[in-house]
């Protein structure tokens, strides 16, 4: 499979990365080189093979559904570009 320029723009939008018109063609070439490289996987017989979900045989650790931590609002917003009263500030989402 290979991607065309429209698909490159669609992927970029899904990935939330702005791409300029000049960037589309080189990106298309690079993505197609990678897709051509992974194409060889289609020759493997995977009939009846389970997809891997955990690389080591371990059960997911569980804990009681209770509050175990908190009270760190200042730490959490410390690195944010814009904050107010321990809230993250973002451009208006709902008109």
């Amino acid at each position: 499979m290979s991607v065309d320029a429209t698909t490159v723009r669609r992927i970029a939008h899904l990935a939330r990365i702005a791409v300029s018109d000049e960037e589309v063609a080189p990106l298309q070439g690079e993505l197609n080189a990678i897709l051509a490289f992974v194409e060889q996987l289609s020759e493997v017989d995977v009939e009846g093979v389970e997809p891997m979900t955990s690389v080591t045989p371990m059960a997911m650790k569980k804990r009681s559904d209770v509050v175990t931590d908190g009270g760190h609002a200042r730490d959490i917003v410390f690195n944010a570009p814009e904050t107010e009263d321990h809230y993250f500030l973002v451009p208006k989402v709902v008109e």
């Binding site: 080189a33 897709l35 996987l41 760190h72 730490d75 410390f78």
Partner: protein, 493 residues
């Protein structure tokens, strides 16, 4: 007399214990070596005040007889580990100015054991690269040069700063991470030792994520013993990482002297790849002979799905990366670039903050996870991953204790020589290391000789899950037989 920064970590530990020098002396020797080596660009951030403060504490602990396992030993930290109050960039512009308010589990464990932080080390952006050329903060220059040449070489990647700093004596050891070969390949390129432990041996908590089912932390150091000492401190159970194993940490250092008598070492025929150089083949044969001379049995084995590991990785890892890196959106940390609305702000921030290779991988990951392609790419790659792991399980079930392979297809290459047109050319660097991440196994890279141009070459040993001890034992046999690599003289100072 040997400069203090040229000691091995074990020698420095013994010297501190015998009070031959102080932790402050040791820290100062490293700080001045780092200052003289700024041209290598190995350190992104030097933390001399913190180093001297920690060394002062160490000296007090040693004086009062309370020395901890790594007391006073100066280390470098790959800038992928979050360090409390110390800027952490992951080699990306998108995290410029980020100051974590927490400490990664791995570095916490090192400071708990008395180690001293010298600074943060350069890396490929978000650990995506094999040459340290994707860092937003410039290339790292290897301390190695080809005989009679001044061409600048790459130190490998993504832990290029870690490997260069260890090889240039700018720290006794360094933390590193390995998602597809990022500890073992730079170690091989710089004549140092690096181990990627079993997935789950070290907690991933507080380490910037690239591909969570493959990422593992480990050390790079100048000897096998030094790596064993460091891994003993770095690893251990952690409830905050649900994939971190609840296992006691063995005495890795004790395993170093165990030898390989009675062990069976597998030589996988599929690693004899097309176009392999005669030099690499000869090195591999030499390594097998060293292990045989020390009492191991050598047996050829087959790992039939080896050739599919690299392409399967370039589906699984970008898919996980596209998800992990969704968090960099200009809201919670780092860079923000305004846009006409919130989506525009996200898109402009990510366009300006991510480098080319990172964008490429996020986009491939987004594509293979998108509607209509998920089964054809992602599910198929995860099935192939099951087959790759099964190959190893069958080899181990047949009585193989560890597997010997080359670490890299060649010695280090020049800055700018590879991957500029076709990204796959650079990806092929990891052809021997990537299977190990796909199967979650431990792998160690140990120097085994020099190529015709005087550059170091490494061998890789792959172990059973959670059997790093056998790797340390076998790697020590190679280190002893090959002789420790003579590291380059400080032409940069």
């Amino acid at each position: 007399m040997t400069h203090l920064n040229e000691l091995t970590l074990a020698e420095a530990r013994d010297g501190l214990k015998a009070k031959d020098f102080s932790a402050t002396d040791l820290a100062k020797a490293h700080l001045s070596a780092i200052e003289a080596a700024r041209g290598l660009n190995a350190y992104l951030l030097e933390t001399p005040d913190r180093a001297l403060q920690m060394a002062g504490v160490a000296d007090a602990k040693i004086a009062s007889g309370e020395a901890r396992p790594l007391e006073g030993l100066p280390l470098g930290v790959k800038d992928l580990f979050c360090t409390h109050g110390v800027a952490t960039t992951a080699g990306s512009k998108i995290l410029e100015g980020f100051q974590p308010h927490y400490e990664s589990a791995v570095t916490h464990n090192l400071w708990r054991d008395g180690a001293v932080m010298l600074g943060k080390l350069n890396l490929d952006e978000f650990a995506m690269g094999s040459s340290n050329e994707t860092s937003a903060y410039g290339d790292v220059v290897s301390p190695w040069r080809r005989a009679g040449s001044e061409t600048k070489l790459v130190p490998g990647g993504s832990s290029g700063g870690s490997a260069a700093a260890v090889a240039a004596h700018l720290c006794l050891g360094a933390t590193a991470t390995d998602t597809g070969g990022s500890i073992r390949q730079p170690a091989a390129f710089t004549g140092t030792v690096g181990i990627k432990p079993t997935y789950g041996r070290c907690s991933r908590w507080g380490t910037v994520a690239y591909a969570s089912s493959l990422d593992q932390a480990g050390p790079i150091a100048r000897t096998v013993r030094d790596c064993a000492i460091l891994l003993g401190s770095m690893s251990g159970a952690d409830a905050r990482d649900t994939t971190c194993a609840d296992l006691a940490v063995p005495d890795f250092e004790a395993a170093v002297a165990r030898g390989v008598k009675g062990l069976t070492i597998g030589i996988p025929k599929e690693y004899r790849v097309e176009g392999m150089s005669a030099e690499i083949q000869a090195l591999w044969d030499k390594g097998a002979a060293m292990l045989k001379d020390a009492g191991a049995t050598i047996r050829e084995i087959s790992l039939p799905h080896t050739r599919y590991a690299l392409p399967a990785y370039y589906i699984v890892a970008p898919a996980e990366a596209s998800s992990n890196l969704a968090r960099y959106d200009g809201v919670r940390y780092g860079l923000r670039v305004p846009g006409k609305d919130i989506a525009g702000m996200y898109e402009n921030t990510r366009a300006a903050g991510f480098g080319r290779e990172v964008k490429r991988r996020i986009m491939i990951g987004t594509y293979v996870l998108s509607a209509g392609y998920y089964d054809a790419y992602y599910v198929r790659a995860q099935k192939i991953r099951t087959l790759i792991k099964r190959d190893f399980e069958e080899a181990y079930a047949s009585g193989i204790d560890a597997i010997l392979t080359p670490a890299t297809p060649s010695a280090a290459f020049g800055i700018g020589e590879k991957g500029s047109g076709d990204p796959v050319e650079m990806y092929l660097q990891d052809v021997f290391t990537i299977t190990v991440n796909m199967a979650g196994l431990p792998g160690i890279s140990v120097p085994a000789g020099l190529d015709a141009q005087g550059l170091p070459l490494g061998l890789q040993l792959i172990g059973r899950p959670f059997d790093e001890e056998t790797l340390f034992a076998a790697a020590q046999v190679i280190e002893t037989a090959a002789g420790r690599t003579q590291l380059p003289k400080a032409w940069w100072a």
